[in-house]
Symmetry: C2
Subunit: 330 residues, 2 copies
DNA sequence: GATCTTCTTGTCAACGCTGTCAGCACTATA
DNA sequence: TATAGTGCTGACAGCGTTGACAAGAAGATC
């Protein structure tokens, strides 16, 4: 039994439509009635039923933000960025998580469509990429972060992983390192290729030859980084620096160095990627590549906003430049 | 121009109501028409408009989960628990974050009410506690996690901080420690009091006297823990163990010990609280108190579900027991 | 054959809100 | 005085769905 417009109208002695006008700040209204209605709204504690409004206007002013694997702390800043930008434009942003296997994304997306979301921002996974490439047409406008799927209904926003990797390796080379290994990611991820390309490009640009055996793969977590770094350092004693796919792997590499009694950064410099919160907690603090994640989220929302206003338009991917954060590990 | 029931009805040559019956799995229907309608639904890709349904049934099957400070990694498991339980009961759980000052919660809650959420789970903050104690009546059923606000419309779910603190200190005493300091939280938080009470209770239970000067406060983050531990250890050389308000503060204490050349756990044992993901990343690994956060989330949802079904009922707070996780730091 | 059941389907009015359009009371213009 | 504007307000339909109820067909019972 929440208060409805009818209640307000009755109490104020006006028609429902007049209350609607007051609520929506429409101009064609005398100041007297406006004040009267506002007073009643206030005293009754009326709040418009957004669902009912959405039913007639066909817009919910809600966008969904889908992040299946919320445990990556990097997502949180992105989510913040999206939420803040959304709120600034009178949209409510609802975050949806999941964790139940490969079809999770499909269910979530379908549910969001059924709830009438005006748009969706989704952090890409291999599954979502595959699914959306085919079915994006069934959904409201989409912005995919760090994704690949091509579809006219999808706009892309991503960090420039390739440039970031180049930045990191350029820096190491600039510090005099010549034998630089890479702690790479085994798992299918859009960033994976780009990151390795950047590593290779930097070496090439400085006249160094790419030795494939200096790239070791592992799952993109601490353990994976540890194993890969251990393999690299024991097999290739000449390496004086490591570039890691992400900060977690870099932390694993840090651990491997400690275990092999290689001082960081003296014997082996390490550069990570992401500037995860952890980067400043471990010792030595991690030198890493940062992307402004909040900005990434903000841009994702803005892109979505454009797309929602002009669904037919197709926008080129938005690529955010990364930046090197020099700390102690290199 | 999404597909509506009307489209399906037309295509299948039945009335809208019949389609509705099919969609809602109502029994009074011949198998023949059911199959026919289902086929059309499938071929047209029809999905029911949940907003329209909500408008007439007065239930959205959505619950909101409000976590203003999402950066605490502990929340993520809680969120997972809520989402999973929600989905298992045909509810959609939307997560809402914020970060813009003290009135944020009010706005979020009001917005959720306007969107017609059937219920709300909120992770308490001092602001939300103060606000809800007065205005909970204006909202759909609420479950507050780790909160205090008393109101018939609120159910409480929380971890037993007092028991957890006692567990930690009991353990230290059991290991022979007699001079145990506490790295406590300055900030107003419901857990704060309870945690300190547990610390005191354990000492008392073992015949040790509580020395207030052995409790140092700081903000509940790494820096705060570092500062507080540093003060404690320099002023009270006799301390052989520290109990910290949470894992972040414990990590700060770890750092203080390293700086003061106190070996952990030999010279100074440390116990944290939360079993944050970080606890196994730092060295030495943190001995800490764990609460099953996923279960906490699950219970929060279940409580909400009961409350949504019987809004008049009042339930006692649900208190989850903690458990000690012994690792390296104590 | 008339009546009652049972099964299946449809009609109609809502839910709370907004858009369209009409209507009223004025004032300004010719 | 007639005409056209202008400013404000309300009637009404409809958004996509469900619930209450009615109605038609088919079979069962007397």
């Amino acid at each position: 039994m929440p208060v409805t417009m009818r209640d307000v109208a009755q109490q104020a002695g006006v028609s429902i439509k007049t209350v609607s006008r007051v609520v929506n700040d429409q101009p064609e209204l005398s100041d007297a009635t406006r004040q009267r209605v506002l007073a009643v709204i206030d005293s009754l504690g009326y709040r418009p039923n957004i669902l009912a409004r959405a039913l007639v206007t066909q817009r919910t002013q809600i966008v969904g933000l889908v992040v299946v694997a919320l445990d990556n702390p990097c997502f949180i800043e992105i989510a913040r960025g999206v939420q803040a930008a959304g709120r600034a434009h009178d949209y409510q942003v609802f975050l949806i998580t999941g964790d139940e296997g490969p079809h999770e994304e499909q269910h979530i997306l379908k549910a969001l469509a059924a709830y009438g979301m005006d748009g969706i921002v989704i952090y890409a996974t291999p599954h979502s990429d595959r699914y959306l490439a085919e079915h994006a047409g069934r959904f409201p406008p989409l912005v995919v972060i760090h994704g690949l799927a091509e579809h006219p209904n999808i706009s892309h926003v991503r960090a420039d992983f390739e440039a970031g990797a180049r930045l990191a390796v350029d820096y190491l080379i600039g510090r005099g390192h010549r034998a630089i290994g890479m702690v790479a990611n085994t798992e299918a991820a859009p960033a994976r290729r780009r990151c390795e390309r950047g590593y290779a490009a930097s070496l090439r640009a400085h006249g160094l030859t790419l030795r494939p055996e200096r790239i070791e793969h592992g799952p993109p977590r601490i353990e994976g980084g540890y194993e890969a770094a251990r393999r690299l350092l024991t097999a290739h004693g000449e390496l004086t620096a490591l570039f890691a796919y992400n900060d977690l792997m870099a932390i694993g590499a840090l651990r491997a160095c400690r275990e092999l009694r290689r001082r960081v950064p003296e014997d082996c410099a390490i550069v990570g990627f992401d500037d995860a919160p952890l980067a400043t907690i471990v010792t030595p603090n991690l030198t890493t590549v940062r992307v402004d994640r909040r900005e990434l989220g903000r841009q994702a929302f803005l892109r979505l906003l454009e797309k929602m206003n002009r669904p037919a338009a197709v926008y080129p991917p938005l690529v955010l430049p990364p930046e090197l954060v020099v700390r102690e590990s290199a």
